[in-house]
């Protein structure tokens, strides 16, 4: 409990520094001419239009979205049965798979990326677009795994017991009681994985960097030939998209709880 003014100052400064690069980039993205000036010289939304009109940018955007949707869905498909199994059965050995699922997220990403590169290269699949989807799904399985573990943990076991005394078997319990209660956690797990896949660079680059251009790869490749305002507009688009997704999670789920605070509101 430091003095209040100190905290307000700290929070203000932190907020300012965190926002500064984004604000400058947002300013740059509005330049009328093909220059990176801040404050912008002239105002134009042309660089936002270019994301959708330029085939290169549009292609990269679509690729990124497709990869993110598919890999987030696959990540949830891996995480859901695992988290359910650990919750449903008394099987301490299954925790080993949970730890496995957490590991890629904790290790430096380069390592996982290199592991995938070795793997796909060895099995001659290097550069195949679908390998990015699988790689991202395994890389980001941590997120739905964490949200779902929390979600299942929040289901009062007496609901399940009540349902079974009323004649529901395992499958019916899952469909009629557990699923409706963990749905917000499924959605937030998907959303976390989606956003991170959208922004992911190194795994996608190592696995299929020369054949598949996602938006981060496209930005990085473009960086080497000089900066353009389109990069700025793409960045702003990404920030907005990301914030929108997290805003939705916060709107429909319990964000502080998802992030580990005990918040009981009833």
């Amino acid at each position: 409990m430091m003095p209040r003014w100190f905290h307000s100052l700290l929070a203000g400064l932190v907020g300012l520094v965190l926002a500064a690069p984004i604000l400058v980039v947002a300013g740059v993205s509005l330049n009328a001419k093909r220059s990176l000036d801040f404050p912008p010289k002239g105002l134009s939304l042309a660089w936002y239009a270019e994301i959708f009109t330029d085939p290169g940018w549009r292609g990269a955007l679509i690729t990124s979205l497709v990869v993110a949707v598919l890999s987030a869905a696959l990540a949830v498909a891996i995480a859901f049965p695992l988290a359910w199994f650990i919750w449903r059965w008394r099987a301490p050995w299954a925790r080993a798979f949970e730890v496995l699922g957490m590991t890629p997220f904790i290790l430096p990403p380069v390592i996982t990326a290199l592991g995938f590169l070795s793997f796909w290269a060895t099995f001659d699949q290097y550069g195949e677009p679908w390998t990015v989807v699988v790689s991202h799904a395994v890389f980001f399985v941590t997120l739905p795994l964490v949200t779902l573990s929390l979600g299942f943990g929040a289901v009062d076991r007496s609901y399940v017991e009540a349902a079974s005394t009323m004649g529901a078997d395992d499958r019916t319990v899952l469909r009629t009681v557990v699923m409706p209660l963990v749905r917000p956690y499924v959605i937030s797990g998907f959303a976390f994985a989606f956003v991170l896949s959208l922004n992911e660079y190194i795994v996608a680059y190592m696995v299929a960097g020369f054949t598949l251009e996602t938006l981060p790869i496209k930005i990085f490749n473009a960086l080497r030939y000089g900066y353009t305002p389109t990069m700025a507009s793409v960045t702003v688009l990404f920030v907005l998209l990301t914030a929108a997704v997290f805003g939705l999670i916060a709107r429909f789920g319990d964000l502080p709880r998802l992030l580990g605070a005990w918040v009981r509101q009833d």
């Binding site: 609901y159 349902a163 079974s164 005394t165 009323m166 004649g167 529901a168 078997d169 019916t172 009629t176």
Partner: protein, 358 residues
């Protein structure tokens, strides 16, 4: 033919035995209370009956069919949980209709059935309320209606009223008993509240440390407790221990008592209910079964007056109606009379009560 038979049901968790060889016959239509302090194994026993715990040993039979290994969802029992376990994502009506829904009963029929069940528990027209907008007592009723929706063979309630305040709890006890009598359904309630058990049960099953101590009608449990634990747990009692000096005579601290049913020799333990103990001023002439002591404390509870008397270093409690209050004052000498008919001779300490036929 017995409706439900527990045959040596046992539950062990590692080296800890939660329920030890519970055997019991429950005839059709009985209202049974499993009564005991927390940790006595009553909830574990009920969960084994419901199919929510696997017994480590023993058998469970219903109408002579063995259901020991039948999964909970195939037993057709109705259960009310301590937490009530009302599904938060469903309305009151949907909760009640849940067992019908998963059996594929058409929606219109479900709604009709839910409405009639709501009427049964005196909540007509509340079907569309979300569970979160019901009061404690209303939730209670919804949980009961839901458990009854399938007309179960057995109606189980695990501490169903513990979340309610005292007044509402008493009212619900009476209502639950009336409901059970009307439906004639075999019912088992777990409770730690002896008043609740005495109010509702046809058969009280007293448990302690994983064992059934006594299973008998309420007044028998009260008047003829099987052992010291039961005597002490059900209501208040005075436990007096002494040596048998002659046939029918027991020497207790502070005097001698004459009574029947004593062992021929050795030590014996008596239970005497406070309301049976008589209290007289010390000037009263002495006589049979009278002990002298000092009145240490009096409290007037309105409906009754409680006296605490020190007799030879031990405390004896006596209870009288206010209008029968004897002329005694705290600190003064008094005479305590223990009528022979009020004494229940208990098995001496250490004798395993669980092995007695019950």
């Amino acid at each position: 033919m017995s409706a439900l038979v527990l045959d040596g049901l046992t539950k062990r968790y590692g080296s800890f035995t939660a329920v030890h060889g519970a055997s019991l016959r429950i005839p059709h239509g009985q209202f049974v209370c499993l009564l005991g302090p927390s940790g006595c194994g009553k909830t574990t026993l009920m969960r084994m009956i419901a199919g929510l715990e696997e017994p480590s040993g023993g058998r469970l039979l219903i109408d002579d069919g063995d259901i020991t290994t039948t999964p909970a969802h195939k037993r057709d029992f109705g259960m009310v949980f301590q937490s009530l376990a009302l599904f938060p994502h469903l309305t009151a009506g949907e909760n009640i209709a849940y067992p019908l829904r998963i059996r594929g009963v058409p929606a219109a029929e479900r709604r009709r059935k839910a409405e009639s069940l709501l009427e049964l528990v005196r909540l007509p027209g509340m079907g569309d309320r979300p569970v979160s907008r019901l009061s404690g007592g209303q939730r209670q009723r919804v949980a009961i209606a839901r458990a009854l929706a399938l007309e179960p063979k057995l109606f189980l309630l695990d501490e169903p009223l513990s979340a309610l305040d005292a007044k509402l709890r008493e009212a619900m006890q009476i209502e639950l008993k009336q409901l059970q009598r009307r439906l004639g359904i075999t019912t088992i309630v777990v409770t730690h509240d002896q008043r609740e058990a005495l109010t509702m049960a046809d058969l009280v099953v007293v448990m302690s440390e994983g064992q059934i101590r006594q299973a008998a009608p309420p007044m028998e449990v009260y008047r003829r407790p099987a052992d010291a634990f039961v005597a002490d747990f059900i209501g208040m009692t005075n436990l007096l221990e002494g040596d048998v000096t002659a046939p029918g005579r027991l020497s207790v601290p502070g005097g001698e008592l004459a009574l029947e049913g004593l062992p021929r020799q050795g030590r014996a333990l008596l239970s005497v209910r406070p309301e049976e103990v008589l209290l007289h001023p010390a000037t009263t002439p002495g006589g049979a079964n009278r002990l002298s002591g000092t009145l240490s404390f009096v409290r007037d509870l309105g409906a009754s007056v409680e006296f605490r008397i020190e007799v030879a270093g031990r405390e004896i409690v006596a209870l009288t109606r206010p209008q029968d209050r004897p002329a005694v004052e705290p600190g003064g000498a008094v005479t305590v009379e223990i009528p022979a008919g009020a004494c229940v001779v208990l098995p001496a300490e250490g004798q395993a009560a669980g092995e007695r036929p019950s």
